[in-house]
Amino acid sequence: MGGTHPLSQPEDKMSDLLDYPIPSDRAIEPPPEWAELRQQCPVARVRLASGGEATLLTRYDDVRAMLTDGRFGRVIPASGTGVGSQDDGGTFSNDPTGVMANEEQHQAWRRLVNATFTAKRVQAMAPGIEAKAEQLIDDMLAAGASADLVPSVAFPLPVWAICELLGVPEDERERFPYWSDTALSTTRYTQEEISAARQEFGAYMAALVEAKRAEPGQDLISELIALVDQNDPRLTAQTVIGTSMALLVAGHETTASHIAKMMALFLGDRSRWEQLVADPSLVRSAVEESLRFDPNAGFGMVRWVDEEIEIAGETVPAGTTVVCSLAAANRDEGTFEGADEMDLGRRPNPHLSFGAGSYSCLGQSLARTELQIVLAALVRKVPSLELAVPVESVPRKEGLLVAGFDELPVKWGE
């Protein structure tokens, strides 16, 4: 059981606390609280969807320190504050891989899985990703003069890429969005729905792992199973199942969301899109800037301190759940000049959207490669692309750790 029920807190205490995530009805603007918190209250007390309290960090230097300092633990214990309204505390209280809590174990596991995500292996996947992106865009263009970019391109491309990598058969892929959304839920789904989906997803992956053991392929799951069968002490069969589940969710949901959010940023102010069409060499830095600038970046990260610690001159007691807004840190004027302006050629751009430190995103090479490829392909093939509705009216996903758009209506000229 994670978190405290809201009704167990006195009314007056509740009203003083800021809710986190901060409610916002702005599509492509950050909530004004980010700047206020950075300037006036860099170590803030907030209330999470579980009803429990946490400490929120928003300044770049503090967030970076939290992510890279080993005193901040990665797994939230049962006595900590859950991030979601469900009873089990949500994703950060659950670890399907079973390796996150112990830094030594995590490092050994990470080095094992890293082998699959080296820059060279990702670069070897690039031609396939590019061909898939071109095919998806061609199909979209052939079907009319307008489309929803999410089911046409943003979702299927990263699903295809992670399934290729893991060796997941094509015919099961439509079940992933539900499993992924429930795994990342804060308030959108009930505990019963989340538990049922986790069980179903776990059973699916266990069966897939067994099938690959019987008939290995040229894929990550088969490679991991081979290591288990060689009695590699870093892995158990359960870890292979958990790792595959974690990679499948992390590998498509975040990238799919970001393709849509990136396109909303570039098309929502079309001068940005025109700049890219005029100079496609900006694609790499523009992708990074869209990652930094993302106002709907989702929850952020959560850590646990089990010893007293000082952050920005304030003492945070032992037994505190600490959350950070990566997106607020990415708008810190102390680190990024003109932080509230999108600069497609910005460099250096040390944004924190993939985290930092030893728990930073394992798949960031793959994510960056996919984002650069899809953006370059859209710029090249559909320079006349524009939003079909005002950006403010695009419906947004709510109640998940990740944020994004459920749909992104676009149109193009002759």
């Binding site: 990470r110 080095r111 890293n114 080296t118 060279k120 250096p348 930092a356 930073s360 960031q364 090479s365």
Partner: protein, 65 residues
């Protein structure tokens, strides 16, 4: 200019290899391998990008060495 890397603290994200493949590589566990500790000036831009994008901050450049 001399480049230094701390392999013990590297998390293997591989950003340096994507940015400057003539200067950095990864071993079979994804850990950084320095190919050229004194690259020519044409690699300056890419090396600076690699330093700023390294998630664990394990690459640094000694300008006086």
């Amino acid at each position: 200019m001399k480049i230094n890397v701390d392999r013990d603290a590297c998390c293997g994200a591989g950003q340096c290899v994507l940015l400057a493949p003539d200067v950095f590589d990864q071993d079979e566990e994804g850990i950084v391998v320095l190919l050229d500790e004194r690259p020519s000036a044409e690699h300056d831009f890419a090396v600076q990008e690699a330093v700023s994008m390294c998630p664990t901050g394990v690459i640094w450049v000694d300008r006086n060495a």
